[in-house]
Amino acid sequence: MDEFDNTMIGRGRDAIDMIVDPDTFQENAIGTYQCEPDYGPCASVGTAQLKGRPVTIIANDAQQFNERFPVVFGGVIGMEEAYKMAMAVYHSIEADKDKPIAEKRPILLIVDTPGNGPGKMEEIAGMNKATGSYQLALAEARKTGHPVIACVIGRAISGAFLCHGLQADHILALSKEYGTMIHVMPLTSISRITKMDIEKLEALSTSNPVFAAGAEFFYKLGGVEEIINKVEDMRDVIARHVDDVYATKAKGEFEKLGPWGRGLLGEERGGRVVRLKAMAKMDEEFEAVADQYLNA
């Protein structure tokens, strides 16, 4: 990491301090819910204030390891971590269930994770359920009206980014100068699995957004709403996106946000232009036969 003196990789807890109002982070507390302090140690959850407003914080803690699940360390999201994160979301929804949308607390995801727990016990018990449940909880919170903002400060890799990030209303990422990594798999692995020539892949990886690694390519696909060029700006940019998302939800324009909204952005930015055409054609073909299925 020498080339990135100012990298935020492995510094999830520092990021919390840099973003929220000073000394306001209450770890493990969300509404009336208290998370057990030693549960899912590689994830940190709790409540803080952001410019005077309560926010739920969900961050990776890359400095910890999980004694019970030996593949879970360095920011990996294990089963305990994913369920802990899901509980933080559900209890945020519960805490604000009687409040109007304008007062539902934002949920801030601080993202620095290399993956989901890749172990045998994880497969036996069902790691897929753990990561799936956190995503469903985030989708529910987003649709209930909570602004959900993800900020990639370090690594956002494949399934772990799907789990912790890609269900947000808006996704922000520190620029590549901070060593930020967004990708599915390193090129060497892609080359091995697809049996494609590594040199050809390396050449393509500098220009092809659907394939290349990095926040700027995800930006082109609509996968990242905004790139943050200075780490000092994180706090203000996040707060601005919280306001934007509140305003969009107040207008009822939920479809401009979250994964579907990023699909629209992907078309606008020219990175993913075929999928919407494919879906429009499907709609048209269904309409031609709809009567025999809807009124049979």
């Binding site: 019970r68 089963m79 305990e80 369920y83 899901a86 559900y90 727990g117 890749p118 172990g119 045998k120 016990m121 497969e123 036996i124 018990a125 069902g126 790691m127 897929n128 799936g132 449940s133 995503q135 469903l136 909880a137 989708a139 529910e140 649709k143 494949s158 399934g159 799907l162 269900q167 990708h183 798999m185 892609i190 699995i193 697809t194 494609m196 092809n208 957004p209 659907v210 394939f211 696909l221 996968g223 994964p259 699909g263 990175g271 993913r272 232009v273 075929v274 999928r275 055409k277 494919a278 879906m279 054609k281 499907m282 709609d283 073909e285 269904f286 036969v289 299925y293 809807l294 049979a296």
Partner: protein, 319 residues
């Protein structure tokens, strides 16, 4: 194309995506949407010198079971391992959204008959997850599917069907977990991390990916059934899958909700109980849990036929 009646009797495992789609709905009722004639191919594969398919490796369409419209997504493992890219990911999302819109229209046009006409989504998974050739677009498509699932909650069921050669892995492993109902044949496998990656992470002595029996015990249908992660374990015929789907189609949503594994605080608490058990027990093999749940001779279970297995197996009891 084979006759429908013959399809029903034939092996699900050996069937291609189109045969499965036709056979999981009523005879003569399936209409393919965005089929090969439309030639919506991946715009990203040619850049890498990889051949395209006119259906991008996924059959999508609508059929019926009784009066229920059935929105079908059927993945073809023979095309790049069934992996998800921009176009087939879009087809998947588009189909789920069509089902949700159809549900709203039926609610409006046939309010008294909603239960009998309620649509369903059936997804026949055969995939390792993200298509690496267009990895970023494939990843984003997964998030869109989860988003679309949430829109269907409590309105119409989403049924996961796994019984094809590739199984259901990677990101699609958690997509499968997020459905309402899971139907598998004995050969079906669901997981997140593939066996080779577990071996790479943990070492060959902990997990030998070439040991097929071990791989199957860890992610196979019998293991999923014992854990409560597979709701229907059926014989390997397309007709058996059709029957199980038809059974779900007529169930009230409240009953279907009980078949779910995740998606609410209560269900997460239940799963946390399971994680605690596994953390305390530190199982070396799925058979340790089979024994814990009351199967005295767990080593015999993999050998049993589906019918014999269902007769004797003891499963995790859900609260």
């Amino acid at each position: 194309m084979q006759k429908w009646d013959e399809l029903e009797k034939s092996s699900f495992l050996d069937a291609n995506a189109r045969q499965r789609a036709i056979g999981m709905t009523d005879k003569g009722s399936f209409t393919e949407l965005l089929g090969p004639r439309d030639r919506f191919t991946s715009p990203h594969l040619p850049v890498l010198g990889t051949a395209v398919e006119f259906d991008d490796g996924m059959v999508t369409g609508v059929g019926r079971i009784g009066k229920h419209p059935v929105f079908v997504i059927s993945m073809e493992g023979k095309f790049i391992g069934g992996a998800i890219g921009e176009v087939n990911g879009g087809k998947m999302v588009g189909t789920i959204r069509l089902a949700e819109k159809a549900a709203a229209r039926i609610q409006k046009e046939h309010p008294d008959e909603y239960a009998a006409r309620r649509p369903l989504v059936v997804i026949s998974f055969e995939t390792g997850g993200v298509r690496l050739h267009e990895a970023n677009a494939g990843l984003l498509a997964h998030a869109e599917v989860m988003d679309a699932f949430q829109d269907c909650r409590h309105k119409l069921p989403i049924i996961c069907v796994v019984g094809s050669k590739v199984g259901c892995f990677g990101g699609m492993g958690f997509v499968a977990a997020a459905t309402d109902v899971i139907i598998m044949n004995e050969q079906g496998r669901i997981g997140l991390t593939g066996p080779e990656v577990i071996e790479q992470e943990m070492g060959k002595e902990e997990f030998d990916a070439s040991n097929k029996a071990l791989v199957y015990r860890t992610t196979g249908a019998k293991q999923k059934y014992i854990m409560g992660d597979c709701n229907y374990l059926v014989e390997d015929t397309i007709g058996s899958f059709y029957q199980a789907i038809a059974d779900v189609a007529d169930k009230p949503m409240a009953e279907i909700e009980k078949l779910r594994r995740i998606g609410s605080v209560k269900l997460v608490e239940e799963q946390m109980g399971l994680v605690k058990l596994v953390g305390d027990m530190q199982p070396k093999d799925a058979m340790d849990l089979w024994k814990y749940y009351g199967n005295e001779k767990p080593e015999e279970l993999p050998e049993l036929s589906t019918a014999e297995f269902l007769k004797v197996v003891k499963c995790r009891v859900r609260n």
